[in-house]
Amino acid sequence: MFEQVLLAGFGGQGILSAGQLLAYAGILEGKYVTWVPSYGAEMRGGTANCGVTISNRSISSPIVSDPEALMVMNRPSLEKFEQNVVTNGLIVVNSSLINCKVERKDVQVMYIPANKLAEELGNNKVAVNIALGALIFLTQIVSLEAVMESLGKVLPPHHQKLIAINQRALKTGAQYFDHLAKEKAG
């Protein structure tokens, strides 16, 4: 069961909002949640990341130093956090922007070309939610429905028109690994 995930990428990719989506979905499901960003000097230039904890119990430290699942949207983020993931954890890699492979052998690694899929949807900016859709599908940390419902709370009022495209992005990501589920079932 997944409780702690770390989302990382570069500023402007929507990483922090994606984390808030997860957190809101957790609230809708009646869970305890915390969301912690990297902040200050760290947010200039380098990576933007946030740790989200979603749990049935009250959360002690909100810091996600050893995530059970890591979602990386660019290469510096993978290099920075690859070693932190717990053994038998999960790494979701945006293969559109990360052209190398994960070195670790003790974790599950799933590659998804999030930017390419986003462009096919007609909006490169929703890449993060394609990856998030995949992360949700693979971890079941919250339900996809709860995340869909949370979009309205996270998007600022002037971006509410983007709810539909973001919902399509989440679904696209969630369905990308559908074949795995079918293989398992078969």
């Binding site: 949640v33 200050g40 000097a41 009250s58 002690s60 909100p62 810091i63």
Partner: protein, 355 residues
């Protein structure tokens, strides 16, 4: 009311608005700036005043002016900025004006860093500036508690006519948690006959900070001290967590207390009788919590867990007064105590006597 996700820094702002605070003066510093961003937007919506000052020296003195004129007022900063404010805080304490000051602590000394620490404990709980005075110091450990305690802070400020310091750290300021916002409670601003708001036909009011005659200064200090003594008796706040049969009691506040709750849960699952005292008021320090636990007779050790090199431990030792050993575990410079490391310390103490 539905829960909303809110940042700690924003919760200080929303809590203040709900408590009827309509004046904020401040100067930017990480990691508390979101509080200023939030109030810059929110104050005009409720007809309040947000003013960015040229320095923390200025912002605390604007607070002094507005509070003395009768306004409900707040400022916020972090370590270095709070150090600059100390002169003004001493003046406000001397003049017995109500206000709320938020310190979102950052790594120090010096420019340090912006990571979470608790190393301003001494500064916060010993007055902080020059002269014999105390601030009531409130230490929330969750975003919900921030909202609740800000209300309390304004109530205490006006009850005792004393500045209130709210002590958080960068992590508490930056993290988001769900909060339940009640229907807005009606706030009440009591009459302030002492405010120097223009005589308007009444007697002259002096917001005074000068007592040039030592006899008068002693009298004023005596009066202040009486007030502090009353606060020490009436306003100690803390949370007991699994302390009833605990043989080892952790003591931690704010973010460190969150980690320690996890430690207690983990230890209890392993059958180790561990509990936690979480001081909510750092001044007055909750001595009564220790008297109570010692009266139960099961406790063998106290372990202070701090994000500093050991500051609160001095107050714990004063409270325990030699009745049990008080140990220390700390991380500092912006590093957080990790659950497994604290558990190791706990086991070292609890299991060392076992075969």
């Amino acid at each position: 009311m539905a829960k909303v996700l809110m940042k700690g820094n924003e919760a200080f702002g929303e809590g203040a608005i709900r408590a009827g605070c309509r004046f904020y003066f401040g100067y930017p510093i990480t990691p508390q700036s979101e509080l200023a961003h939030f109030l810059a937007k929110r104050m005009p919506e409720v007809g309040g005043t947000f003013l960015q000052a040229e320095s923390e020296l200025a912002s605390i003195n604007m607070v002094f002016g507005a509070a003395g004129a009768g306004a409900r007022v707040m400022t916020s900063s972090s370590g270095p900025g709070i150090s600059l404010m100390q002169e003004g805080i001493s003046f406000i304490a001397c003049a017995e004006l109500p206000c709320v000051i938020v310190n979102i602590m950052r790594g120090g000394p010096g420019l340090g860093n912006i990571a979470p620490v608790q190393s301003d404990y001494f500064q916060a709980t010993r007055g902080g500036g020059h002269g014999d005075y105390r601030l009531i110091v409130l230490a929330p450990s969750s975003v919900q508690e921030i909202i609740d305690l800000v209300w309390e802070a304004f109530v205490l400020a006006e009850k005792y006519l004393n500045p209130i310091l709210m002590l958080g750290d960068g992590l508490l300021g930056q993290m988001m948690e769900p909060v339940e916002l009640d229907e807005e409670k009606e706030f009440f601003i009591p009459l302030r006959p002492w405010a120097a708001s223009g005589r308007m036909g009444g007697p002259k009011r002096i917001i005074n900070t000068l007592y040039i005659v030592p006899e008068e200064a002693e009298k004023h200090n005596f009066k202040l001290n009486q007030k502090y003594k009353e606060i020490e008796v009436k306003e100690q706040r803390w949370e007991n967590y699994q302390t009833k049969d605990a043989q080892l009691v952790l003591v931690a506040f704010g973010t460190a207390a969150r980690v320690c709750k996890g430690v207690v849960d983990y230890c209890r699952e392993q059958g180790l009788p561990v509990g936690l005292i979480r001081p909510i008021t750092l001044w007055p320090f909750p001595d009564k919590a220790f008297d109570y636990i010692l009266s139960l007779g099961t406790v063998r050790y106290f372990l202070s867990v701090e994000m500093s090199t050991g500051q609160m431990i001095e107050d714990i030792r004063l409270a325990v007064d030699g009745r049990r050993p008080v140990h220390f575990y700390g991380r500092f410079g912006g590093m957080l105590p990790v659950l497994t490391d604290v558990v190791k310390e706990v086991k070292k103490l609890l299991l060392k006597e076992e075969p």
